[in-house]
Symmetry: C2
Subunit: 261 residues, 2 copies
């Protein structure tokens, strides 16, 4: 069925499917590195679903969408504290815990230590978008595929186990001890793979991430994820039109098709 979907998608996007050959500069690409939260996995939907189940068992009635959005809103500011040196290098698991404490205070919720640990690790239990694993599996046959996320190695490894993400290697912020969009993270990706910048394509649903990657010489692939923020207050989905990046894909299967995988 998957093959049939891919075929229909390819058939419906012939010009896109041919675009790789119209872009000889992309034939050089050996590795695809992916933003993960929002691009590969649905953080908001997963947190809401887990919250609803947990709340039902606890007899706790909470607006879990607001809970997820409150938590996510603290993401940028927490990394900024590390960036500005207000915090020493701190992995994302630990930042998630700090942000959770703030959210709990704000919502006047009290949790046990075990519950706090479990909730901190909800970020290791996010579900992939429906076509992500199928698209990555196709792309893996032709390219090295790796996350290039702000998540630390333990978080990303457990997330991959949870969702069946077929990464070849886990790259990202912890290996550079800097957070995206800082230059060092993008540079670490091609250096650790012993590749040139233009042999690596950054793939993300976020324009800011791709613009940074482009500034440091990487190729760029935009993947539309219109449902990341679900109309909540934590952000608005980016949009891109053909030509804004080296590849602009409707979804993971379209990305695979456009890259000939």
């Amino acid at each position: 069925m998957l093959e049939r979907r891919s075929f229909l998608l390819a058939a419906g996007a012939t010009s896109a499917a041919l675009s790789l050959y119209a872009k000889p500069e992309l034939t050089n690409v050996k590795a695809l590195v992916f933003d993960t939260f929002g691009t590969v996995v649905d953080w908001r939907g997963s947190i809401i679903a887990e919250g609803k189940n947990w709340g039902k068992a606890k007899g706790l009635n909470l607006n879990w969408a607001e809970f997820a959005d409150h938590w996510r809103l603290r993401y940028g500011p927490a990394m900024d504290k590390v960036r500005k040196g207000e915090l020493p290098w701190t992995v994302l698991d630990d930042l998630h815990r700090m942000m959770l404490e703030d959210v709990l205070k704000e919502l006047k919720l009290e949790l046990t230590e075990a519950e706090k640990v479990s909730w901190t690790h909800v970020w290791r239990r996010l579900h992939p978008w429906p076509d992500a694993v199928a698209g990555l599996t196709r792309l893996k046959k032709r390219f090295i595929i790796a996350p290039l996320s702000n998540g630390n190695i333990a978080l990303m490894t457990n997330l991959a186990k949870f969702g069946g993400l077929p990464w070849d290697v886990i790259l990202g912020a912890e290996l550079a001890r800097r957070y995206k969009p800082d230059r060092e993270v993008y540079v670490s990706a091609y250096q650790l793979l012993d590749l040139k910048p233009d042999q690596v394509m950054m793939c993300a649903a976020h324009s800011r991430d791709l613009q940074a990657a482009r500034n440091y010489g990487l190729r760029t692939g935009f993947i539309h994820q219109p449902n990341e923020f679900g109309g909540g207050f934590a952000g608005k989905p980016d949009n891109a039109k053909p030509g804004d990046f080296d590849v602009v894909a409707e979804n993971f299967l379209d990305l695979a098709t456009q890259l000939g995988a």
Copy 2:
């Protein structure tokens, strides 16, 4: 067929298969990290095979077993130079190139630059031992599996692509900027995975690697690889008997069976 082989193996090794349950301390293990050269892949046989093919095409008659052994003999001393500070941190790909230059000098062989690059990367094209992928695939269902090798990330990533090694994440010397058996490499394995030392089992065909891992609190699994050195002069295979390490396995399938995977 694989399932049948596993079953027969399990049936023939009932006491071994039960040993996990007789060792409650092992139920804690969440991740298995593997030495790679010699343990997972057959460096010597792969280099000989590639040499023979290449030599035939070049009309070059060489004793490729000696070539492989000469190269491998330089492995320990090259890492010692880094360990003693005679060389700054240097990834294994680059040490392989330096060792290759020495071997070529000794054998009075002249290669083009492209040939040197290709030969240096022969270490990215080593074939797994026959049961390694099947064993790892079983183990991956129950554990996080990762190489903990002296090979750098680019080398290990390409090696995994070449041989179909289904790693969850690539750990190893480059992330600690130290070579095994230095403490930092073993510590980096459990720290990067956010685990305790005894939640990680080092698996290797080499006693020295396992003894170091044990000294730093990791669990240990010995895998017999009697053919690693093929009777050549680069070394002799280690042997172990039950009780020498937490697990002593005949091969990868036996390791999977003993660990209940």
